[in-house]
């Protein structure tokens, strides 16, 4: 019974945050562009979330006759499913997680790799040149950035001596990992943005060039699932940054641990939106060369140095 409550709670929190981000992102982007954003529906425009949801549910859900129908329908589901599965291992507070896995970090990395399938299959099944180009870019980008996304976390794993996220948070009682693992943090942040393909790494979508990239042909709630999936990805990466580098739920005792966790996560979600408000999109080849020529060597050096220091201290 207790576990069922936690599962329901996590689902409720994650889906509500993902839906609420539609509103939060529009308001914050407006704030940083000296506008107001949606402020008409309900108090502070909060009803905009409901209005958007109602709208997207009632839109025509068109499956193109030229598409590969089965794959076309499954693709957005894969994205949401993998992301929701990953949230199963995220500890929001001590004891407040669905599944306390001892390989939680590997589980996250594996699931985020599976997420690529959603985009590649979606772009392929759309049977549309722009979608295919978007999917190709997405697969190349996500495969590239996955390599050192995993590697950048190895420094944290070495210092915490654990793949268990709860264990990693507990290991930060005497200092957050952001200080010794600053390079790892920066690289994980960049890779995380690329994994969720948010601006500035949104070249799979690139609405200026590719209509809407891999989801050009999607409409109605199928598009909505890609949309919500993107926001869930942002939430997930923010949660993981909090857990891995900023001490998770740890904080001064005047606030309960869950509040600390969500405060820290919220800061990173806002940072993701700030990135979108301020940075332009790099060219495709610039993105790839940044990944392979700069970030990958940096990650490897980071692992080497971390390992050497750890051995020296032993």
């Amino acid at each position: 019974m207790h576990e069922l409550l936690i599962i329901a709670g996590v689902l409720l929190i994650v889906l509500n945050i993902a839906a609420g981000l539609i509103y939060v992102e529009r308001r914050l982007l407006a704030l940083w562009q000296d506008r107001y954003g949606p402020n008409r529906v309900g108090p502070f425009g909060l009803g905009q979330v409901i209005a958007d949801m109602v709208k997207i549910f009632f839109k025509e859900d068109w499956i193109p006759p030229f598409s590969d129908k089965a794959v076309f329908v499954i693709a957005p589901g894969i994205l949401v499913a993998t992301l929701l599965l990953t949230f199963a291992v995220v500890p929001f507070a001590p004891g407040f997680n669905v599944f306390d896995s001892n390989i939680a970090l590997l589980f996250f990395l594996g699931n985020s790799s599976l997420g690529v399938y959603s985009i590649v299959l979606g772009g392929w099944a759309s049977n549309n040149k722009y979608s295919l180009l978007g999917a190709m870019r997405a697969s190349a980008q996500m495969l590239t950035y996955e390599v050192f996304m995993g590697l950048s976390l190895m420094g944290v794993v070495m210092m915490a001596d654990s793949f268990n996220l709860t264990g990693i948070v507990e290991a930060q009682r005497h200092g957050w990992f952001i200080f010794p693992q600053f390079v790892g943090f920066v690289i994980f942040l960049i890779a995380g943005i690329a994994e969720t393909h948010r601006v500035p790494f949104d070249i799979p979508e690139a609405e200026g060039e590719l209509v809407a990239g891999f989801h050009s042909e999607y409409s109605g709630m199928k598009f909505g699932m890609f949309f919500v999936g993107e926001y869930m990805g942002v939430t997930l990466v923010s949660c993981l940054i909090t857990i891995l580098f900023f001490g998770g739920w740890l904080g001064p005792a005047f606030l309960p641990p869950v509040v600390w966790f969500f405060l820290k996560t919220g800061v990173f979600i806002c940072f993701f939106i700030l990135l979108r408000a301020s940075l332009p999109r790099p060219r495709y080849d610039q993105l790839m060369s940044l990944g392979w020529k700069i970030l990958l060597p940096l990650t490897l050096i980071n692992i080497l140095v971390t390992g050497a220091v750890l051995i020296y201290l032993q």
Partner: protein, 171 residues
């Protein structure tokens, strides 16, 4: 790298800037006096219609949204019998105002022309004609030029020379 961080910081600082948006229905924007909005027909300072029904506005209108019918009163003064502007066609270019020789047709700073029924966008003469002089308070066309309408004698207008005495031999 530095420029990326700098642009992030500058964008963040915009959180403390004043918002440019004017929350329209509650707060009206400032419209300059020459703003080209709703079209009106004005009267001269004596309270007569300025319009002499010359059709120049209808001819100048690029979307043909003005239609009128000229007629004369008992003194022979021309005026429009009907004057109709279809605001669902009007593009508010102001060419009618430029074409008007008597400053009768004017565009004023008012853009709130919404209607639920498209037919209501067609304004008749009684909707267009106002009691005042609009942007040119002192101007009366017949005082400056044109035929004698009881406002001035022949050749006494502001832009006129006295008529030539054809019986005289003086140059």
């Amino acid at each position: 790298m530095f420029s990326i961080l700098r642009s992030l910081w500058y964008t963040f600082l915009h959180a403390f800037h004043k918002r440019e948006t004017i929350l329209y229905p509650e707060e009206k924007p400032y419209l300059p006096p020459r703003y080209r909005g709703r079209i009106i027909l004005s009267r001269d300072p004596d309270g007569e219609e300025r319009c002499v029904a010359c059709y120049l506005c209808a001819a100048a209108c690029p979307v043909d949204c003005i239609s009128l019918q000229a007629t004369e009163d008992k003194d022979g003064r021309r005026y429009p019998e009907t004057f109709r502007i279809n605001f669902s066609r009007c593009i508010f270019c102001g060419l009618c105002e430029e074409a008007c020789p008597t400053y009768a047709i004017q565009l004023i700073p008012d853009f709130e022309l919404s209607e639920y029924n498209r037919q209501n966008m067609v304004y008749e003469k009684e909707h267009l004609l106002i009691s005042g002089t609009g942007k040119y308070p002192e101007y009366n066309f017949y005082r400056n030029a044109g035929v004698d309408m009881g406002v001035k004698g022949k050749g006494e207008g502001g832009n006129e020379h006295p008529p030539v005495d054809i019986k005289s031999i003086m140059p």
